[in-house]
């Protein structure tokens, strides 16, 4: 049990938040003072900050914008950089954070994605990567065609952890090889043109650990295997697996403890064979 909860430490604590009013604008730090309550997590801190709408020095400020949904660490929405590390705000417990760093809690938006406002970032590149790797089982359709392929318990036990990936982006934010792409719309550019340009840029940038792991997941599925070659080709295309620098932060920060580096190594082996196949069999 945390000492803070037990000892009833100071009544309030400070939160330092890196804010930004809109995309492309400059960011600034703002301090907030929050009353301490038992069992607080960063989400409840944000709720108090929003309700109070006042900075620590009593100045009225707009509520800090942030993203969240399930608050149970299964939806992946509330990723932010808390005390320097990308993690989920819902499982970041205040008492533990104050144990780590007693003076204050520091909140920043994710560093590898364009900021929309305050702690809200645009993670569309992350989802786009799932399309790039064809992250689905290519079924004939949703008509009743009987049960799926039989799978051993062992296969399920390998696949299940990978399929728990909730696209939170922690692995990407912590990855030294995954670098931020922030485009600004041109003066005469329509929203659709801008979106298309963004997509095109994302398509040649690093996929990231989550998408590599999804590739491995679908390539190991009995039906998903059908597209295995195509998926490997994507891993071997621009921005593919080769960008990985084996820093292995992905696996260390993954809140769901998904064996991402195992997936990366499996993808490495598969692409090695794919390379030989391309040279000697085609």
């Amino acid at each position: 049990m945390s000492d803070h909860a037990a000892n009833g430490h100071s009544d309030s604590f400070e939160v330092r938040i890196l804010r930004q009013d809109a995309p492309g604008e400059s960011s600034y730090w703002e301090r907030h003072r929050v009353e301490h309550e038992p069992d607080m997590n960063v989400i409840s801190v944000m709720q108090r900050v929003a309700a109070r709408a006042q900075s620590a020095d009593g100045k009225p400020v707009a509520p800090v914008a942030w993203d969240c949904n399930c608050l149970e660490e299964v939806c992946g929405a509330c990723t932010m950089v808390i005390n320097g590390q990308a993690r989920q705000a819902c499982t970041a417990l205040v008492d533990k954070l104050l144990d780590e760093q007693p003076a204050e809690i520091e909140l920043q938006p994710m560093q590898k994605f364009p900021v929309l406002r305050d702690l809200v970032v645009d993670r569309s590149r992350l989802f786009r990567a799932l399309t790039r790797v064809k992250g689905w089982v290519p079924v004939d359709g949703s008509y009743d065609l009987g049960p799926g392929p039989r799978q051993s318990r062992t296969e399920q036990e390998v696949a299940y952890p990978l399929s728990q990936c909730m696209s939170c982006g922690c692995c990407l934010d912590a990855c030294p090889q995954y670098t931020k792409i922030e485009l600004t719309p041109g003066v005469d550019e329509s929203a659709a043109d801008f979106a298309a340009r963004q997509e095109q840029t994302h398509d040649s940038a690093f996929l990231g650990a989550h998408a590599i792991s999804q590739t491995v997941l679908f390539n190991s599925h009995p039906t998903g295997k059908v597209n295995a070659g195509e998926r490997l080709d994507v891993l071997m295309d621009e921005g593919g697996l080769q960008i990985c620098g084996n820093a292995q932060n992905c696996v260390a920060v993954c809140p769901k403890e998904i064996p991402l580096t195992t997936s990366i190594a499996r993808a490495g082996r598969a692409t090695t064979f794919r390379l030989l196949e391309r040279w000697f069999e085609k």
Partner: protein
């Protein structure tokens, strides 16, 4: 037909299933969601998904029995044809999800593994670890992404549905929505709008539901003329972990594996739980229900925990209601083996190891059986007519509702592991129905005058601007929401009393009035969550009022709706003849009550208040019978009831219900 489109509001299981099926049928879909669809609330479902399966079938199970369990669990308040259709579709849905790559747990031989859930005798529930909802959602999300890559589905994520657009004839021709990032408001033309926006958990402040579950989309349809059915039926889960931000589910299996529920006998005992001697602990479930102990049915556990805190004042904490759920007497190794996953959740969020310290838990609002009223067309077999445009229609032409936000499948109470099924089923089933509706439609959305869309957009734009520019009224929307949540939780959850409900209804009026005077602390033109939340808050009141009004009207106990004043007590007499006599009286009373109250409440909005009408329930497949679980003298009542039914069927000469319940399985 070629340029007709469908707009789906909500990207949870139901919305994704509908989008996938429509795209498969060749209809372009715009899929709108408050959040990236992969983050929808469906991910929170842990337990599993029900269907009759090869194993249970050999033990005597059938789709019919699944139907029976579902309507019995729902206290017969749901129309039976849709439930029948769902139960019969269930095995195929499991097969489909299996083919889509859901990582269901497997048996040693590689078949799907199943577990047993409440309300049935069969191991019907397929599951994927402790994250079945997440796994099912991801499988559908992947298929939708596939169709998106093919250009058949367009996603509009981070868009807030503001209103359906209805033409002069009242037909729904699209929707107005707002981008949560750029704050742009625009109209979407659509030939059919399907609302799949989930439950209204935020009406209760904190619940087990996600933060997008505001109920606002449903409320906006309700305020535009859609009807709201069975609002008063709200499922409360007995054991949740109270958090400052939300209430998180603690699975029933903790009690199943020997967890004991207790409170200190002394109110506000400040000692640590392990320092309180056994004699000074009140194991109230074990004392009050010696037979079932801690494993009393869900609703009883919920009521007792509520009662011990609210009425007996024995809550473990003074400023927050909770009781101990104690596992510390069980060896660690055993706990790790049987309950590892769920104990980790507690540890992760509470920072306390439940193997060393008793967990603190309290009931929490979990699911809304009520929702938008929807129609159906019964088939000759007693199920639904596939492809009929009436199925899942809200009654407003062109506006459909599916998933948790429709009222149709769970009656007075929902069985565990049936919600994932109803969401996927209604999503898949609605697609051909929507297609027939579009084929029959007079003029497509594309033919509507531009002014229809522009006027609708401008209405919402001026509402938005007015809200941003209104003079500071001094009300803080977040604090107002807390007040609303506290009020609803107090009056309209576990135990309902007419005096409290009356008072709550008045109070709701005041809060709704105050919500018009919210001071916005943010006038920003980018990602203004403050204004979005304020709008959602205002739209919570029609739903809250419908819940409270429905509960106030309903003077009986049914499913999750419990009014102690109207509860049927058990039999008191020990003397057999008298006991039989009492049972007869009990059954008389039951029949009278059924006659009076086996009706769905259907609310419509008059601009200020819900007007509640009542609708007969189609119980043509399985006649209503008393729910007797745990009632004193239940066996005698059951016997009397059976005799009475047999007699009646004898009189009428055919015994139709009896026959149908036996004949049905052979029709499969």
């Amino acid at each position: 037909m070629a340029n007709q489109r469908v707009l789906v509001i909500g990207g949870g299981l139901a919305g994704l299933a509908a989008a996938m099926k429509l795209a498969e049928l060749g209809t372009p879909v715009d899929l709108m969601s408050l959040t990236p669809v992969k983050r929808s609330h469906s991910v929170c479902a842990q337990g599993g998904i029900n269907s009759c399966n090869d194993q249970t079938r050999q033990l005597g199970d059938s789709e019919w029995k699944h139907l029976d369990d579902t309507v019995y669990g729902g206290d017969f308040l749901q129309h039976q044809p849709p439930v029948k259709e769902m139960a019969y579709a269930a095995p195929k849905i499991i097969d489909l999800m299996d083919r889509l790559g859901v990582t269901f747990n497997r048996t040693q031989e590689g078949f799907l593994d199943h577990r047993r859930f409440g309300g049935t005798l069969y191991k019907r529930t397929a599951f994927a670890g402790a994250t079945t909802g997440q796994q099912l959602l991801y499988a559908l999300d992947e298929q939708v992404r596939r169709y998106e890559a093919d250009g058949l589905i367009n996603k509009y994520e981070y868009w807030d549905f503001l209103s359906p657009i209805r033409d002069d004839a009242g037909v729904c021709r699209g929707a107005v929505a707002q981008n949560l990032m750029t704050m742009e408001i625009r109209s979407f033309a659509a030939d059919v709008v399907i609302v799949a926006s989930g439950g209204p958990g935020l009406v209760y402040g904190r619940s087990t539901m996600s933060m997008v579950c505001t109920g606002s989309a449903v409320s906006r349809c309700f305020q535009q003329g859609a009807k709201y059915g069975n609002g008063e039926f709200i499922q409360v889960h007995p054991t949740a972990i109270p958090g400052a931000d939300k209430l998180r589910l603690m699975s029933e299996s903790a009690r199943g594996e020997g967890g004991r529920v207790w409170v200190p006998r002394k109110p506000n005992d400040s000692r640590a739980p392990q320092d309180i001697p056994t004699a000074e602990r009140y194991y109230f479930l074990e004392e009050r229900y010696p037979e079932y102990g801690n494993l009393v049915p869900r609703d009883i556990a919920t009521r007792e925990i509520f009662d011990i805190c609210v009425n007996d004042g024995l809550s473990v904490e003074a400023d927050r209601q909770c009781v101990y759920l104690d596992l510390t007497h069980i060896p660690r190794a055993e706990l790790d083996r049987k309950l590892g996953g769920i104990l980790e959740i507690y540890e992760k969020f509470q920072g306390v190891d439940p193997r060393d310290f008793p967990m603190k838990i309290f009931p929490a609002v979990h699911y809304s059986m009520g929702g938008l009223w929807v129609d159906y067309q019964k088939s000759a077999e007693g199920g639904l007519e596939a492809g009929s445009p009436r199925n899942q229609s809200t009654g407003i032409p062109g506006l459909y509702a599916i998933g948790e936000c429709d009222y149709q499948y769970h009656g007075g109470n929902r069985l565990g592991a049936n919600s994932l099924l109803s969401c996927i089923f209604s999503g898949l089933f609605v697609a051909p129905c929507v297609q027939s509706a579009m084929e029959a439609q007079q003029g497509s959305a594309a033919d509507q005058p531009a002014s229809l869309y522009e006027n609708a957009r401008q209405d919402k734009q001026s509402e938005h601007d007015a809200l941003l520019n209104q003079a500071a009224g001094g009300e803080n929307p977040y604090l107002l929401h807390q007040e609303l949540g506290a009020l609803m939780t107090r009056a309209a959850t576990v135990v309902r009393r007419n005096d409290q409900l009356t008072e709550a209804y008045e109070k709701l009026g005041e809060l709704a009035e105050r919500s018009r005077n919210c001071s916005l602390s943010d006038s920003g033109a980018w990602t203004n969550q403050n204004v979005v939340f304020t709008k959602a808050l205002k739209d919570m009141f029609p739903i809250a009022k419908s819940i409270v009004r429905g509960a106030l009207n309903r003077d009986e106990c049914r499913g999750a709706h419990y009014k102690p004043e109207f509860a049927f007590s058990g039999l008191e007499s020990e003397e057999p003849a008298e006991r039989h006599h009492q049972a007869e009286a009990w059954c008389d009373r039951f029949e009278k009550n059924t006659e009076k109250w086996l009706k769905s409440s259907v609310a419509s909005w008059d601009g200020e208040n819900p007007q509640i009408a009542y609708e007969e329930v189609d119980t043509s497949l399985i006649p209503p019978r008393p729910r007797l679980y745990g009632l004193v003298g239940g066996e005698v009542i059951e016997q009397v009831w059976a005799e009475r039914m047999a007699r009646r069927h004898g009189e009428s000469g055919n015994g139709a219900p009896q026959e149908s319940s036996q004949a049905a399985p052979s029709t499969t």
